[in-house]
Amino acid sequence: MLTCRQITELVTSYVEGDMPREQRLDFLRHMKGCKVCFHYLRQVRATRRVLGQAPAAPAPPEVRAALLAQFRAWKPKGGEGGGGS
């Protein structure tokens, strides 16, 4: 029988979906009877989802400007692409 502490240590393995079958069954058995660990699992999952959906901060203006200058200086080898300067 897994303890609550063990559950929190195994939670990433469970979420990643590659737990050995036996362990997975033990994990699920514990979850079924332990609301607290189930709550913990939900919070871990929510945290992970938030990380994937939170809007990225745009790059700092000076970085954008410097990189844009590099992009403008790019001369495509193929010919075409850009007629100016």
Binding site: T3, C4, R5, Q6, T8, E9, V11, T12, S13, E16, V36, C37, H39, Y40, R42, Q43, V44, R45, A46, T47, R48, R49, V50, L51, G52, Q53, A54, A56, A57, P58, A59, V63, R64, A66, L67, L68, Q70, F71, R72, W74, P76, K77, G78, G81, G82
Partner: protein
């Protein structure tokens, strides 16, 4: 979660715009990937200034290879591979070789849950209830997102790189192992530690 290997829909169009020297397409990419590239590179090199330099070189190399870019891999994967290679070269030059294989450098690691259990491994202090418990609800709370961003900055650099690439960028585990030069087991440990701390940061925030 979409895999990192395959080009995403709409990406062919983005590449077409880049080749037509569309500046807004380029800035779109910069905004989308600059922070992630920086975090990847920071896990290899010593100072933030060097990391910035390496990321700039990465963008330069990316721009220069646009002509010959064959869309077999996603732009994201392509960019991250360039960055990892450049960062590794730079780290060698700085004589900090294969930094990611060095377990001690993963930082102090007291788990934020260390004192939450009794001797039998049962919860003494269970996870507290959050005012927002679903991802959608949390995403609406600016302060919570700020707390999470700050917690991210405080992670040891390798944990930060792994959680950035896996959870923020959505790259598959194998890809992240390859980029960082770590084993699957090590990747898992780093990811676990990072997620545990980030969840704890949100808990701290909601507990007030």
């Amino acid at each position: 979660m979409t895999g990192g290997g395959q080009p995403a829909t709409g990406e062919a169009d983005l590449v077409r715009r880049l080749l037509a020297r569309d500046e807004s397409a380029f800035l779109e990419l910069v905004d989308r990937y600059h922070a992630g590239l920086l975090r990847l590179v920071q896990s290899f090199v010593r100072t933030p200034a060097v990391a910035e330099e390496v990321v700039q070189e990465t963008w330069r190399a990316f721009i220069e290879s646009l002509d010959t870019f064959e869309q077999r891999a996603a732009v994201k994967t392509f960019l991250y591979r360039i960055a990892a290679n450049q960062a590794r070269t730079r780290a060698v030059r700085e004589s900090r070789t294969s930094p990611m294989s060095d377990l001690e450098r993963d930082g102090e690691d007291s788990s934020p849950l260390a004192d939450r259990f009794g001797t039998a491994g049962n919860w003494l202090t269970p996870p507290s209830a959050w005012a927002a418990e679903t991802a959608d609800a949390i995403l609406e709370r600016k302060q919570a997102l700020e707390v999470l961003a700050r917690a991210m900055e405080q992670l040891p650099e390798r944990q930060r790189a792994v959680v950035q690439l896996r959870d923020v960028e959505g790259l598959p585990a194998e890809e992240v192992c390859e980029l960082l030069g770590v084993s699957e087991v090590h990747q898992r440990v780093l990811l676990h530690r990072a997620r545990t701390k980030l969840r704890a940061a949100l808990e701290g925030h909601f507990r007030g």
